[in-house]
């Protein structure tokens, strides 16, 4: 009997190791700062993570197929200034501008898919190229200067509330819900896992592998553009350097959430946990007035420690299963 309990315990840690890390962080900061657990601070954290959270759903899709998308930060930048210019110089309605940029982001993703599925360029290289080029476009169309002066209604998207919940948080939660349902309940979702786990077996099982690759990069492009528009509305100004470095934040969060870099394994529910860990670390350390450069160091170390813990926990779990 003692044996089975310990197996159960190991399974629990193996499945939810990263959740324990999150809970430990919350307890730690709650002890160190009495403002940490107040409602407005909780929503503050959620709002801070919403942009990277939205991107990380697309990134999860891509990583599950065994790929990677480094261009997400640049798509954020382009959609941010693109929507800004369409509203100011183009005089378009904010909704129309947003739709156009969502399409543009999706097209960027489809281009990634074309390079990767059709031309067989390794994902890292293809999306690295797109990352650099798209950032170039963001600077070209703005001349390197910020764009501002929009319809005041537009800022509601990023700054408004539904009840007490900030709108970006609602959008992030909807995106996560979409991702979770899609991956768990659709054929394409199952095929995404299949392609990442065993591409050849998937092909021989009748999966259109190329279509799946187009799909995940298109979703990633769409999500990044959505994140860019929300970001634009929140900061109320289109910065050509917006979203710089977001690809690394998103990858960090997704990997923290236990998605395998080689593809085929991971759950979107745990990606939320990864996103929250990143957000809580920033927020908690800021509240404790920890120097920003120190924060960066700590975040890097937490990533390594959390993933090390997770893989240790997994090895315990697999021992329990094989035995």
């Amino acid at each position: 009997m003692g044996n089975t309990t310990s197996i159960k315990m190991k399974n629990l840690i193996g499945n939810y190791g990263i959740v324990f890390v999150l809970v430990a962080l919350i307890i730690l900061f709650a002890i160190l700062s009495n403002r940490f657990l107040m409602a407005d601070n909780i929503f503050n954290v959620l709002r801070q993570v919403s942009i990277v959270g939205i991107i990380s759903v697309g990134m999860t899709f891509v990583l599950l197929t065994g790929g990677i998308d480094l261009s997400v930060g640049s798509v954020v930048g382009v959609s941010c200034v693109g929507a800004a210019l369409l509203m100011t110089d183009g005089g378009l309605h904010p909704a129309l501008a947003a739709i156009i940029m969502l399409l543009a982001g999706t097209v960027c993703g489809i281009a990634n898919g074309f390079f990767i599925a059709q031309l067989k360029i390794p994902p890292m290289i293809a999306t690295l190229g797109m990352m650099t080029s798209l950032r170039g476009i963001a600077y070209i169309i703005t001349g390197g200067l910020p764009v501002f002066g929009f319809d005041p209604n537009f800022t509601k998207l990023g700054q408004g509330y539904l009840g007490i919940v900030p709108l970006p948080v609602i959008i992030m939660l909807l995106v996560f819900l979409f991702g979770a349902l899609f991956l768990a309940l659709t054929r394409a979702g199952r095929h995404i896992y299949g392609v990442g786990g065993n591409e050849e077996a998937s092909r021989l099982s009748g999966v259109h592998v190329k279509r799946i690759k187009y799909l995940v990069y298109a979703v990633s492009g769409f999500m990044s553009a959505l994140a860019g528009i929300v970001l634009l509305s929140r900061i109320n100004s289109g910065q050509p350097n917006a979203g710089t470095g977001y690809e690394m934040d998103a990858i960090t969060a997704v990997v923290l959430g236990g998605v395998s870099m080689t593809g085929g394994q991971g759950k979107i529910g745990k990606v939320i946990v990864g996103v929250l860990i990143m957000g809580i670390l920033t927020n908690g350390m800021t509240m404790l007035s920890i120097y920003e450069y120190t924060q960066q160091f700590v975040k890097g170390m937490v990533l390594i420690a959390a993933v090390a813990f997770d893989s240790f926990a997994k090895s315990q779990k697999s021992k329990a299963v094989i035995g």
């Binding site: 309940l185 021989l204 009748g206």
Partner: protein, 497 residues
């Protein structure tokens, strides 16, 4: 009585509650070829892994040349003269043969790697073993058979006294197997002890001196190969008497279902044949003869440059596997791990992977239907599993193969191509797959193409056998003409073509 070189005494390995190895004692004599036999999960691999130091035993001891150890470590095992050759090779593809043999212990001269000396040394070993191969060849340019030979050369170069071979002939053709057997005999003459694991019993009888049988982690028996029959050995392995006969067919075959005319691509030349309803059509030939390539082309997995496929008399165009499945043609690929199973998905997700359309309600997968379908086929194929939601990686090879079979059957296809359906699976699971194939053709009216390198299985199961040589069909044999010799003559190009 020869010297005992290696002995394990009361060796055990427990994983949380499960005894993978349970109080096993065996002695290995110097210079003998000692077979380990048993079904999958019998504990052979666990025993081997304790000898190579890959795992630490829970109890017992290992006596190597009189020295008692309670465990070995991987580096120590090699230093003490124990080497192992697994089914997956540990070679670096972009290095040469000689560089691989000396990998990690390169010969040095003036602080630089001395390629010339390494090449010369390897050449000497290759000559001694009678193998025609240049030490400067890149490993990536070699086929499986030669890669395996390099592994053996590596072991010989490391002065191994004990060489463990795990299913060494699984990827080899008959000719290559013969070469391997010659090498093994040579090694025996040099007093190297060989521990030999194989599912092919005829090899054990052909090559080995003694055979130890294991079952459920326990030691069953050690016998001189000369003293027992295949039937007795199988009885020891399965713990019950099992007919190694193939199920007999009762019903006659029907009309032509699938016709292939003039199939051509870079590996296949002008292949034409017909498959009848309810028939099991065997494809024999050496590895590389083009059998798998024909199947992949029909299934739409490989390019087809010329030729026409007819299904029930109507010409069809199959441009990818999904189209083939739509038309009712399924394929069970030869390489289970790389082409068949999704190890990271659950059994349920694997089984319905190709037939999800049946489990949908609107755009979403209906978990009830999904579970019902996979449970139905799990039961039909008698997949032994802790639960339908277990990951496929936790299953034994035979059960994984059944999952792949279930996946294909769940698409309800009428023509099923089995490519090496029983490779690397145990006797019991093999028997079950044979029964299933019979049931599919006789009771469900399916038609089967079976590609196999195991002659007894081809002869036992097929209604007709086509033999391929060099990308072409070299001959066709009806049931009354089946003979191992004839098939081999066609396959090696002696007759036909």
């Amino acid at each position: 009585m020869q010297n005992c070189i290696l002995e394990v005494r009361h060796l055990s390995k427990y994983y949380a509650g499960v005894k993978a190895l349970d109080d096993v004692s065996v002695t290995f004599r110097e210079g003998e070829i000692h077979a380990l036999a048993g079904e999958n999960g019998a504990g052979k691999s666990t025993l081997i892994k304790t000898l190579t130091g890959a795992i630490t035993p829970t109890g017992g001891e290992i006596v190597l040349e009189g020295q008692i150890y309670d465990k070995l470590d991987p580096v120590g095992a090699i230093d003490k003269g124990i080497s192992a050759i697994y089914q997956e090779f540990n070679l670096v593809p972009y290095l040469t043969v000689a560089e691989n043999v000396f990998y990690g212990k390169e010969m040095m001269k003036n602080g630089l790697v001395d390629k010339r000396a390494m090449n010369a040394e390897v050449q000497k070993t290759l000559d001694e073993m009678g193998i025609k191969l240049k030490p400067s060849t890149l490993v990536s340019d070699l086929g499986v058979a030669y890669q395996q030979i390099i592994e053996i050369v590596k072991a010989v170069a490391a002065n191994s006294k004990i060489l463990i071979m795990d299913e060494p002939t699984a990827p080899l053709t008959n000719t290559e197997t013969q070469v391997l057997f010659n090498i093994i005999s040579n090694l025996r003459k040099k007093n190297v002890t060989i521990i030999y694991i194989s599912h092919r019993l005829e090899e054990i009888f052909h090559m080995c001196d003694r055979v130890t049988v294991m079952r459920d982690g326990k030691y069953v028996s050690t016998r001189n190969v000369g003293d027992i029959t295949q039937k007795e050995l199988i009885a020891d392995m399965v713990g019950r008497t099992l007919g190694e006969d193939y199920p007999q067919r009762a019903k006659p075959v029907g009309d032509t279902v699938l016709e292939v005319k003039g199939l051509n691509n870079d590996r296949v030349r002008d292949v034409s044949f017909r498959l009848k309803k309810g028939e099991i059509l065997g494809f024999a030939g050496l590895v590389g003869a083009g059998r798998t390539e024909v199947m992949q082309a029909i299934y739409g997995a490989d390019k087809l440059e010329g030729g026409q496929v007819y299904l029930n008399g109507k010409p069809i165009r199959i441009k990818d596997p999904s189209k083939a499945l739509d038309k009712g043609i399924g394929l069970i690929p030869e390489d289970r791990k790389n082409q068949g199973i999704h190890l990271g998905l659950s059994i349920r997700q694997n089984i319905t992977f190709s037939s999800l359309k049946q489990a949908m309600t609107g755009p979403f997968i209906n978990k009830k239907k999904d579970t019902a379908i996979s449970e139905e086929y799990g039961k039909k194929l008698q997949i032994r599993m802790p639960g339908i939601n277990q990951l496929a990686m936790n299953l034994s090879g035979g059960n994984q193969q059944k999952v792949v079979l279930a996946k294909v059957l769940a698409t309800k296809c009428d023509v099923i191509i089995f490519d090496e359906p029983t490779r690397g699976i145990d006797v019991g699971a093999k028997q079950e797959i044979y029964m299933l194939m019979r049931q599919l053709v006789e009771e469900e009216g399916k038609s089967i193409i079976m590609v196999s390198s195991e002659m007894p299985e081809l002869i036992g199961m097929s209604d007709r056998i086509l033999i391929m040589h060099n990308g072409k069909i070299a001959g066709e044999l009806g049931r009354e003409d089946f003979s191992q010799e004839l098939i081999l003559e066609y396959a090696s190009g002696l007759i036909g073509g």
